[in-house]
């Protein structure tokens, strides 16, 4: 069979144009004074000035990031501790932990958010608090990312051997785990944290359902601005998209570096 060279290239080109076109037009549109013919009528930075002069904009951008910090710590700690038990004492636990962590991946945000709201809304000042509920829904939503990142990392380390070595030197199991294993996992934890962060940053459904207008993120600011001129909303969308790209881009680059290092390690081990 002859291997066609131009057919794959053509397919890639067509699909890429379809995918990039909306982004490209949106990007251009955020800089135009008006556009009602073949080409824009003029260019301006006014809409960016307007966006940044809104005192609510930067705080709302930050709020989307801040709300992800506690869930990342809580879920990360819970998963690491649970996996510690499974590795040290009961390997059968791991498949159970994995299945549980994958449930949110199947159910998706809307159902998770609705079910938590249905149970805890109006139930006292702590659990009934919208921000508390939001934090815990996010904890559940990011479980699949957190689990996968941490699990991949643990596979690359010989946990049992390292802990035994530390124990011979007189360290306790948990102490050895915290001081030796966790520092070894930092890059994996960081990668999954960034992925979790970008998931939360781009969320609109959960925040709309659980928090209403009690926690104004950039997504909600954008939704509230839907009747403003298109250039204004385009500018917000572009800034948010670049922020998302930055977060996931750093995660992607770190992942690549980690993969390459693992490859080198396994090559070195073979030699």
């Amino acid at each position: 069979m002859k291997q066609n060279r131009w057919l794959p290239a053509l397919t890639i080109l067509v699909v890429s144009i379809f995918l990039i076109l909306p982004l490209l037009i949106l990007g251009i549109y955020s800089f135009v004074t008006s556009w009602d013919g073949i080409a824009p009528n003029g260019y301006t930075l006014d809409f960016y000035k307007q966006v940044f002069s809104d005192p609510r904009f930067l705080p709302s951008l930050m709020r989307g990031l801040v709300i992800s910090i506690i869930p990342i710590f809580l879920s990360g700690a819970a998963v690491i501790l649970a996996l510690y038990t499974s590795i040290m004492y009961n390997p059968r636990l791991e498949s159970i932990i994995q299945s549980i962590c994958m449930i949110p991946h199947t159910l998706k945000g809307v159902i998770l958010a609705i079910s938590v709201l249905g149970l805890y809304a109006g139930k006292g000042p702590v659990l009934g608090n919208r921000i508390v509920m939001l934090t815990f829904v996010y904890c559940i939503v990011i479980l699949p990312f957190i689990y996968q990142g941490i699990r991949n990392n643990l596979r690359a380390i010989n946990v049992q051997q390292l802990i035994e070595a530390a124990e011979i030197l007189g360290a306790g199991k948990l102490y050895a785990f915290v001081r030796i294993i966790i520092p070894n996992m930092l890059s994996g934890i960081l990668i999954s944290s960034l992925l979790a962060m970008s998931t939360i940053f781009t969320d609109f459904a959960i925040i709309k359902i659980v928090a209403g207008s009690k926690w104004l993120t950039a997504q909600q600011l954008l939704y509230n601005a839907r009747n403003n001129p298109g250039q204004y909303t385009s500018a917000i969308v572009l800034i948010m998209f670049l922020a998302t790209l930055l977060i996931s881009g750093v995660a992607f680059a770190m992942q690549n570096r980690a993969d390459r290092r693992a490859e080198q390690d396994s090559k070195a081990a073979k030699e």
Binding site: M1, Q3, N4, R5, P8, A9, T11, I12, V15, F18, L19, L21, P22, L23, I25, L26, D36, I38, A77, A78, L81, A82, T85, N90, L93, I100, T106, K108, G109, V110, I111, L112, I114, S115, V116, L117, G118, L119, Y120, F136, C139, I140, L174, T202, D203, F204, K208, G212, Q219, Y223, G230, T233, S234, V237, M240, F241, T244, L245, S248, F252
Partner: protein
Amino acid sequence: MKAKLKNTPHYITVLPFLILVLMFLAAPLCNMVIRSFFSPNTGTYGLANYITIFTKAIYLSAIRNSLYLSLLSTIIGIVICFFAAMAAAYATRGWNSKFLAILNMVSNFAGLPLAFAFVIILGRTGVLIEIFEALGLPFFQDFNLYSTDGLLLLFVYFQIPLGTLVLLPAFQSIRKEWKESASLMKANSFQFWWHIGIPVMLPSLADTFSLLFANALTAYATPFMLMSTNYPLLPIKITSMFTGETTIQQELGSALSITMMAIMLLMIFLCNMVKKFFYKGGNN
């Protein structure tokens, strides 16, 4: 006492995870299932909410619209993803890496921002619509973004990067030797893919299908931005029953959520059946 203390710490480290999952995943879901059978008017448990859902036109049309959009966007999406992933697998290295970068970038472009972008380019006074009108080309004359067609276009758009990225590894399982042997037996490209390639990839295709379907079925931000609550769609109907400005009907909303979950699980089950069937075919 001492022995007991020595044993407990082993499992105490699972506790935070257990509490988190019980309180914010298991308990809320159980509560939702129980509530879906409760009817607040009579104060009794029964199937009343489900009967309402499957007899009232508004809920039936929400289910119909959701099924239609999810199925069609998944089928169109998976066909495009199949060819896109195949192209990526057989393209030169340069094309491949550029395409991957684009897919990864665009996979971040979903939900609300995506809906805004399509309003700008294909909305009532969208840029592309104005351009084609100025050029005198009638491409988008009958196109209405704020309709089922418009939603379908957006759904297909967000399926492509996800599906292609998930399908790519499957193409690496197609060995070069198989293609060579097939071509020695005078099979053409189409025959190779129809008889060998696609059956081998079917488990991956089934997985991708259920992933894309669930993704479309539960999509909320995109349709909500375009149509607000005017368009009957399962996630939108469910959400408005819990947070709506008018009347909050949590019991009916719970039943509707369970219905949506059931549709999703049914699709996962069907895809698994397809997978099993083809695995078995391989053994015979």
